[in-house]
Amino acid sequence: MDTISRRKFLQLSGAATVGASAAMLSISDIAQAAIARPLPLGTPIVVVVTLYGGNDGLNTVVPYTDPLYYSMRPEISYKPEKVLQLSDGLGLNPAMSEMKSLWDQKKLAIIRGVGYPFPDHSHFSSMAIWQTASPISHISTGWLGRWLDSQSVDPMLAISLGSVPPPLFAGAKRSGSALPLGGLVIPSGKLAMRCQTLSKSSSSDSPLMASAATSMGNLFDLSSNVTSVLKSPAPIAADLPVTNGGNAGGESSLQQQLDIVAKLIVAGAPTRAWSVSLGGFDTHANEANAQSALLGSVSSSVARFISQLKGSGRASDVTVMIYSEFGRRVKANASQGTDHGTSGPVFVIGDRINGGMYGDQPSLSKLVDGDLAVTTDFRDIYASILERDLKADPAQILNGWKGRVNLLYK
């Protein structure tokens, strides 16, 4: 990406309402209809968990039988007896006990060595590539945004938690909505009426002003739909570990986000795609404690989320995908941390998933400029999700992409 396109990416990072102007007039009607037609049971739902900062894959899924792993990072490696052993000489980070339990239940698929051609070491470029699913040419839409483009207009169809919607939900014609954390305090009475007047479209609006108006209008449309299922106060933010890797994006409380998503799914929100995130994975220094605290949070939050779906009849509808923009350099640096790397494992979780290992584990003896090789293209995973969960034609959304992760789904 050149600088201009990176700017486009930054600009894109908030594109929740861009392009939605054509649909603006009917958003309210459709949101109202969403209450009247809860998502039919059995409709697949995708939850995308983005780990910002570049999660160290080698200390997430640990090659604990490989002597090279211990010689290349003597101070930040996990001993065989500490890791949660899985198969193929691999084990989970000791903090991920709940994930180990999902593995034992055969609900966790670990796809190894995931990346894309010519890996980029910039947080921003690499995250743009993952979210737009376009490694070579820069494009301004996200992969799920393009799926939204293929759907009928519905502001409830894709929702991200937190105040800044991710680029992966930005389509050319329509985009996902954002839901704030920390409870909804929607104006009421005269102020609400007048704010709704303020949010009407005007022929003199520039695109930005139209977005400002629409976002305010969506607040009222969305709120009238979701407040009924969010009657109880928003969950208190779980204490997050203090980390020293927090300089590359992401929301802070994953559990809080997933609690809200679980509630809305159970309530029947007509939402097919959710986006949540956690930051802090940019562990250039003192990695071990910071990363294991974060992975512990991922593990417990996701397991808790899945348990909350039980009894709703929707537990088997949901697929969770967890990824980060890159893994980290194999050799540790002098600060007990690691610099930016390339490929890493992606987790896919669900009742309809065939648990197990997929893709080849990148060899520690065949590094590319000190980095892990890419053995699986992330578009294989996206294509499988698009095809199996969203019933879309992956080729149309992923520029003709044909690959899949074979046998990932039951």
Partner: protein, 433 residues
């Protein structure tokens, strides 16, 4: 006349956080070029700014041992208090400065060299960085780049402290080129590794942010970078980076992106990059202001939360630290996801549409409603009801209200707190056209 109103509205919103009472109508009378000249003149003394006491930020020393809970608690409180004090002090400066261009530029550079107290963990290094940015905000970029390389907060933030000859840490090197001085894809992965070697050996006192060079930890071997092959240190590597043409192009683009338009690329006819050829920031800013870019209709920008809040403060003579409780503004800014010294990542805050989610709209309305309970509306009350819309339009320096906003304001013209809330949440104020 309409064109002039647009240009003056943009001049104040983008380079001055917004006009003070009466300033917008005076500027309309004086004309754009006189107003621009006044704004670019930062040499006048500012007694009210001079009178603002500096925050008290003594070096707190090492963190107590984790076992000592009482001491740890007291220590954490001190860090928190210092952080609030430096943040309020800066917000106060933005709000009360007679000519806030220097503060506006300091704010721009804070987003550029985005460093977060979330990892630095001590207020003193953050405060020192803020003063460094202010001292160089309208100076020479080369001088600024050197000063920032030696900035303790930045070194802590990007792990420079731990980078040694046998194992260089690439964090500072990569972001220095990608985000601070050259722009992504204008360097190679080998360049990142080379600069990381040049940047080895600098050590930071965590509590003070003092940076010292330790030759024993430094890689003194020749380093291949941009065609040269000689021993390099932080300063000589910085010089090589800033001398690249990519530096002039990149900084021009960053200025343009924030002040003119994030969705339209730099138009060379406005001569910003030419003005920046010697890395003189004031010349580049003068070109941004004076060469016509502000008159191009499609170059709208969204006010970031801090800019939105400070514009309100300036229009209503509010000093942020005097609001009640003292940290009132900080809590609301946190909900809006923008607190000074706490950028979300090393790339700084996002722009434009990112601030237009329904979540932002909700927090903006609630911030404005809460603020409306603390504002003295006597001046607004003295304006006849049928003139209030025109009055607040000039007070806030808004180009124009659309019909829907006019209707909403008309319905609320006798309820001044609500009238205010609607005006500052209107698309025409949130977006500076």
């Amino acid at each position: 006349m309409e064109a002039q109103r647009l240009e003056i509205s943009r001049l104040y919103a983008r380079f001055a956080f917004g006009p003070r009472p009466g300033q917008f109508s005076q500027a309309l009378a004086a004309g754009f070029s006189t107003s621009a000249k006044n704004l670019l003149n930062t040499s006048l003394s500012d007694p009210s700014l001079d009178a603002l006491p500096l925050p008290s930020v003594p070096d707190l020393g090492q963190r107590p041992s984790p076992g000592d809970t009482a001491a740890t608690k007291a220590f954490n409180l001190s860090v928190r208090t210092q952080t609030e004090e430096i943040t309020l002090w800066w917000l106060d400066r933005m709000a009360i400065a007679q000519n806030p261009l220097l503060e506006r530029m300091t704010w721009f550079w804070h987003g550029h060299w985005a460093t977060s107290i979330d990892k630095v963990n001590f207020a003193l290094p953050m405060f020192n960085q803020n003063q460094t940015l202010r001292a160089n905000a309208l100076g020479n970029f080369r001088t600024m780049a050197h000063a920032m390389f030696h900035d303790g907060a930045l070194q802590i933030w990007l792990d420079g402290n731990d980078s040694v000859k046998n194992s260089p840490n690439e964090n500072l090197s990569r972001e220095f080129m990608e985000l601070f001085a050259m722009g992504v894809n204008n360097y190679t992965e080998d360049d990142v590794k080379a600069v990381a070697r040049a940047f080895t050996g600098y050590q930071v006192g965590r509590t003070s942010g003092d940076v010292k060079f330790n030759l024993k930890r430094h890689d003194s071997d020749p380093i291949k970078l941009f065609g040269s092959n000689t021993p390099l240190d932080g300063d000589s590597a910085t010089d090589l980076i800033v001398s690249r043409d990519e530096n002039a192009r990149f900084i021009t683009e960053r200025l343009w992106f924030r002040f003119i338009s994030s969705s339209n690329s730099v138009d060379i006819k406005f001569g910003v990059q030419t003005a920046f050829a010697n890395r003189d920031i004031a010349s580049a800013v003068k070109a941004l202001v004076s060469n016509g870019a502000l008159s191009v209709p499609q170059y709208g920008v969204v006010r970031q939360p801090v800019e939105w809040f400070i514009a309100i403060c300036r229009a209503f003579a509010i000093q942020p630290s005097k609001l009640s409780p003292r940290n009132f503004a900080l809590g609301h800014l946190l909900k809006m996801s923008q607190v000074p010294f706490l950028p979300p990542n090393v790339g700084g805050w996002p722009t434009d549409e990112a601030w237009l989610s329904s979540a932002s709209a909700q927090f903006r309305i609630s911030f404005a409603s809460a603020l409306s309970k603390q504002i003295d509306f006597s001046a607004l009350a003295a304006v006849p009801a049928d003139k209030r819309i025109d009055y607040i339009k000039d007070l806030l320096g808004i180009y124009n209200f659309s019909a829907r906003t006019f209707t909403a304001l008309t319905n609320a013209k006798d309820d001044l707190p609500q009238f205010f809330t609607l005006a500052v949440c209107s698309p025409e104020f949130v977006v500076n056209e």
